[in-house]
Amino acid sequence: MEFLKDPLKVVADWLLGIFTSWGIPEIFAQVLIGFLGVLILLSVLMLLDIFLVWVERKVVSRFQDRIGPNRVGPFGLVQPLADIIKLLIKEDTTPEGADRIVYNIAPLLSMMSVLILWAIVPLAPTMLGVDLNVGALYLIAAGAISTLSIIMAGWASNNKYALIGAFRQVAVMVSFEIPMLTVLLIPTIFARSMGMSAITQNQDVWYVFLTPLGALIFLIAAIAELGRAPFDMGEAESELVSGYNIEYSGMKFGMFYAGELLHAFTFGGFWAILFFGGYRFFGLEQVSAFLAVAVIVFKGMVGYWVIMWIKYTVLRIRIDHMLAFNWKFLTPLSFVLLMVTALLNAILAGTSSWVYISVMFLSNILIGWISLEVARAHSRREREKVEGMKKVVTT
């Protein structure tokens, strides 16, 4: 039963026994085991990534009333493998005048920025890469590397479309990082820790009930961070063709594509960890570590599905509207939410948990409603202004 509870430790001890019996010093054996563990986790993620290609294509075709891939293998499940073989045997072209070094590093960084996020994902109470006590900051820092890879790709391609796409994408990513950072502070206040593991363990009540508005702002900011529709102005197929990765071909393009999909799934997972209890599900995580992993993968998939749902339902927003929405609405709203949460958290310190939860929940709903009313009144004024101008023109 020890294996079901804590499989990583059992396997690690077993391997350590083998390695030391071979005469490898213990410190090297530890390093080797750590390396193997990381390699296996990330390889499994890459396999999952291949499966995500199939999921994405199948779901989008259902949203658009199509069938999607169904020829290669049962339900088209082998389709992504065929795609990979195609990507592998494609010629890798470099445009003339490109900055070769930067051009080649960008796809590596794009993939790496996603993979390193999994260092802090708690998969089960006993299964996690690193229980970092600055997890929330690490999440933001890893996101900054993905921003860097995009500006590198756009700049080094020596292509105007790529450059414009990268400018837009980076402007959106850095702008929406502010509400995301601010909202990340709210689970930190509740859990009294920045560590993902501590945040998960503190969620006897899912934080989505304490801060529904915070969860919503995090989702919006995450979608913008991913550069997915409705915030995909950086890719904008109809005008920029493909945006920052336009000049990439073969596996380098594959790295950007796979990185984007895995990033979406990862943010689905972080949404689940921060607001939906992570691997916790009615004590199921205590039974076996494997069940806990199943729970968090399922929750991550649900989050990913919500992101896809929004992507294929909502229209693309113009870049100036997008940035105005962030700086004039989302950022002030997230700051107000943070201040109210901090204040209520101090005032309600001694009360029972039911009072605490219901007051937090109602305050969130109230803030959301007031902000929507303010936005509505503002848009009504703007509309009247435009209509007034039209009347002047026609008369």
């Binding site: 794009s110 390193i116 336009i246 100036d320």
Partner: protein, 117 residues
């Protein structure tokens, strides 16, 4: 062993995996470059001039505004972690800090820096 050692391992393996995939594709793929193939793709029209030109300055201003907020919100994390132990006074202090941040936002807004002009 230090936690940061494992973070380093994640960085290393996270670079090795895409490097391996791209390297494998480089071995398998054909290599027949020619001048037409390597021209910049602009929907079939011949490229005029370099892409590395001065572009809209507005993006730079957004980056500047971001930088101010990003650096200052990082200061809030230690405050948020210790908030429950510090009591009402620290909360008020934090709120004053956030209000100063908001004054910065309002200033940028009133200056018209958030407009797409």
């Amino acid at each position: 062993m230090s936690q940061w050692f494992y973070i380093g391992l994640f960085f290393l393996v996270g670079l090795i995996i895409p490097f391996g995939a791209i390297g494998f594709a480089w071995i398998l793929g054909p290599k027949k470059p020619n001048p037409i193939k390597q021209t910049t793709y602009e929907c079939g029209i011949e490229t005029v001039g370099d892409a590395w030109v001065q572009f809209k300055a507005q993006y730079y201003i957004f980056a500047l505004v971001f930088l101010i907020f990003d650096v200052e919100t990082v200061f809030l994390f230690p405050w948020a972690v210790k908030l429950s132990q510090l009591g009402l006074f620290a909360v008020i202090e934090g709120i004053v800090f956030i209000l100063i941040l908001i004054v910065g936002l309002v200033y940028t807004w009133r200056k018209g820096m958030l407009e797409w002009a």
